[in-house]
Symmetry: C2
Subunit: 261 residues, 2 copies
């Protein structure tokens, strides 16, 4: 391969929230290195459900990480958002053309999206002006990442070609069925199904009480235009998301309130 | 006071991200106990910048907390979102009529909103169907919470009277000027000013490299209709926010993409 071809490949930043040793990240790397120069900067340890946390009270440590097959990366003792920030500001010589976060073990749909470290990494990319997407596979046990990785590659090419508006990133969820059973790709909105939280109260061997968070999703909508509905219908779901939390529709009503401190 | 009057007071859940011992929470309590029965469930230790993190890999511990002046609360070894969940599901006998999170030390405006534990507590309230707001004071040193606490009380009364749409909560930012210099109350949208992150690279006494996240806000807009602009103009800013991250405007464009995995 001539040098000019190498340098013309786009620079991709890869990260996740399952940790740098997670198989989903490895699958992503194996597929995306075919079309890009990849830099892997991911959490040293699993960071599920950290949301958009960043580390400010402690210093960040970065160590080199290597596994078979040319997988070299940087392991950060921090959150997915930390990984994106430090990759962009301190690790990468050339700024990334794109960021891909995943492949997450388990869906990140509906309300879960707001708790997701995988998605927050993509959002952090959008904040930094890097076109980005998060990709999750709707399964926890015996995952086969092959189709999701292939999809990630196709979407990367589409984003490099079409671009994304500033501040927008994509949240992709792939059903766990066999590739032959995939019913297509659909653009969705975030579902708003509610989790019914429960706390499992226990007493430790020293007599002290502790609680485990448990619970289950309670569907308040079963809309095929939502990420949840799409994945349930064996479709790949793509939801464009952003970090402007403003609920514009309520502004006018709120302006009429008479608040008297 | 007759018993019927006591029981007719609304039940308020108070939380924050600065920790249960923080003076802003104490100020909130002192003001709000005048109009409500308060239950305080807040993090045992400071949880700034944790975003919407929840604790799933570790059990949650809850301990009783007491300080002078009738301040009784529950200290949770977890995040603000954990506090709201466990208060709602396991601690409170009667469900809260409202939730107030704060008073935070330092503004939570613009992009900061997404990193904020204080705001995430209010968002978690909205997820659970509890009318909620977060309140922050734009100062770190020598804070005077008096006006902000009084404002919190007025807004609590307004919300109890008017209600909030399901899924919407309010993000309030109070300028740190004297009450006489407050230029009014304004309903705003979230600003989108960018942070210019930097990492301060250092070497520890054992020869190992570590990084501190630093940086400063770079204004990309100076719009008086934003939370940031309002606070800078000495106005109390109220932004209605929600947890639907969908960027609806981009859906149609994205549907035209030809993604071929």
């Amino acid at each position: 391969m001539r040098k000019s071809q190498v340098t013309m490949k786009p620079n991709l930043l890869l990260t996740n929230d399952d940790g740098i040793g997670a198989p989903g990240l490895h699958a992503l790397f194996c597929e995306l290195r075919e079309i890009a120069n990849t830099t892997i900067v991911a959490p040293l340890v699993e960071q599920s459900a950290v949301g958009h946390a960043i580390t400010m009270s402690d210093p960040l440590r970065v160590s080199n990480y290597e596994r078979e097959g040319g997988f070299y990366g940087y392991a950060v003792k921090g959150t997915p958002a930390d990984c994106v920030k430090i990759a962009y500001c301190a690790i990468m010589d050339q700024k990334p053309d794109m960021l891909v976060s995943g492949i997450n073990l388990g869906e990140n749909t509906g309300i879960n999206t707001i708790y997701s470290g995988t998605v927050s990494a993509a959002t952090e990319g959008a904040m930094l002006g890097i076109p980005a997407f998060a990709i999750s596979l709707d399964i926890y046990d015996n995952p086969d990442f092959q189709y999701a990785a292939k999809f990630a590659s196709a979407l990367t090419r589409s984003i490099l070609q079409n671009g994304l508006p500033r501040g927008v990133c994509l949240n992709v969820n792939v059903p766990a069925c066999h590739e032959s059973e995939i019913e297509g790709i659909t653009v969705t909105k975030q579902g708003l199904s509610v989790f019914q939280d429960q706390f499992d109260r226990r007493v430790d061997p020293h007599g002290r009480v502790y609680y485990w968070l448990t619970g289950q999703k309670v569907d308040i909508e079963n809309d095929k235009y939502t990420d949840e509905g799409a994945v349930r219908a064996n479709k790949v779901s793509i939801t464009p998301i952003h970090y402007d939390l403003t609920h514009y529709a309520f502004i006018d009503t709120l302006r009429k309130w008479d608040i008297k401190p």
